[in-house]
Symmetry: C2
């Protein structure tokens, strides 16, 4: 039996671990089902900043996996909760999409135009335009609190690389010298602490599983959890050594995909 | 007589020196006319990356100033010429607006979609969107030559700060770690050398006039010309000392506006 199967909780990345975009990674889906049968506690953690948990639940259903909304910690949700816990209910201007807006509103925040806003929240947006960036720029210059969902610079979409939320963070930094007061997504801690809170476990009792050393493995280490890197996404057998060298961090375990836990 | 009136040539910035957006600075316009009467050689140099010289000639006419297209070196034009001189006629993908496209085409380049392009040219665009940034990102990753019109990070528009070309440069740098192979606008040299070439003069015989220390004064120093800072734009009597400290560069002369040359 794989030593990680002694853990009580599993914090699983989504893209590259149990699916690729809309397509499930079938052996990994079966593995998740086995973990649940073994009464392991499972939570999914994703840096996606454009979807709400409601939208993600549907994607999971298409993967053949029934999960509760609560079981999914997306940066949209983690960001909305982080703001509520640290600032209270806020009037927010956001660059983000409807998925982020939905979670912000569910947490009790109000979405307003930048002139009425108390806070800037940056999330990715496939409809980004000059006006949105101008408003974010002016919010940034106003010195009001500035929170970002996730730092990802490039997202490997099905038809090639596309800008991640980091594109907007970088543009604002370049223009104003200002970085967000908090970035909620991996490899930062905020989203990982939310996952631990959901599981009701301590870091020593969980493993963090992901396909990216600079995102998932570093996030796992940030809460002192053990980490499992799977080679079903961004990291491959071929680039593994380079990635470890590049980021100066080594996962505790490496497997081809999640199902290999059961080999 | 002001000592700078002994110079043979005047390299003049536009915005903040002879106009503010569409409005002329009338005393400065009169001063330009006097310089021309004195048979001084005058050239206008602007970091504007969205207008062609044809469009700018019209603005000058509205200012009450008749100038030749040749007498205006915009980054749109300087960039198109720089590429032709250093790479030949190219198939170009650009993030820029019609004014940049017009100058690129006039120089003999062909504007194509990114998949057919040999070169990326970044210029500002008030219609910037996710698709344009994605294409620029992919061009950047392709390692093909990458030229930018100008580095300005923020442009002080009439209704408040808006992103400059630097916003796109910064976003691409953040995503890929790559900076342009050449930036043609001030404070870089390319555009200043074009201005000297037009005047047919050596740097010692000209003065570079502008309203921004980090743009115009540094550009003047880059070609070893004397510099005159006018306080009719971004720099004011109040922030002058701070600006000099911030950028570590001092203009040779400071005047309230261009007309004070004749006081």
């Amino acid at each position: 039996m794989h030593p990680l199967l002694s853990k009580k909780g599993f914090i699983l990345d989504v893209d590259g671990v149990i699916g690729r975009g809309k397509k499930p990674i079938k052996p990994a889906i079966s593995a998740v089902k086995k973990l649940i049968e073994m009464e392991k506690k499972v939570v999914f953690v994703s840096n996606n900043s454009t979807r709400s948990r409601r939208i993600y639940t549907r994607r999971f259903r298409d993967y053949g996996l029934e999960v509760d909304e609560d079981q999914m910690i997306l940066t949209t949700y983690a960001t909305a909760q982080y703001i509520k816990e640290n600032y209270g209910k806020m009037r927010i201007f956001t660059t983000g999409e409807i998925g982020l807006i939905e979670e912000l509103e569910l947490a009790g925040h109000e979405i307003v135009d930048y002139e009425e806003a108390e806070m800037l929240v940056v999330g990715s947006n496939r409809e980004i335009n000059f006006e949105l960036i101008t408003k974010a720029l002016r919010m940034c210059l106003s010195k009001k609190p500035y929170i970002a969902t996730n730092p990802d610079r490039i997202f490997p979409s099905e038809d090639g690389p596309i800008p991640g939320t980091g594109m907007i963070i970088g543009a604002l930094y370049w223009m104003t010298g200002r970085m967000p007061d908090c970035i909620c997504g991996k490899p930062e801690k905020v989203i990982m602490l939310k996952a631990l809170e959901y599981l009701g476990l301590e870091a020593k009792d969980v493993v963090v599983v992901g396909d990216q050393i600079d995102v998932d493995v570093i996030a796992g280490k940030s809460i002192n959890a053990e980490t499992l890197l799977v080679l079903s996404g961004v990291t491959t057998r071929d680039n593994l050594e380079n990635m470890i060298k590049k980021y100066g961090v080594k996962p505790d375990y490496v497997l081809e995909d999640l199902s290999k836990l059961f080999d």
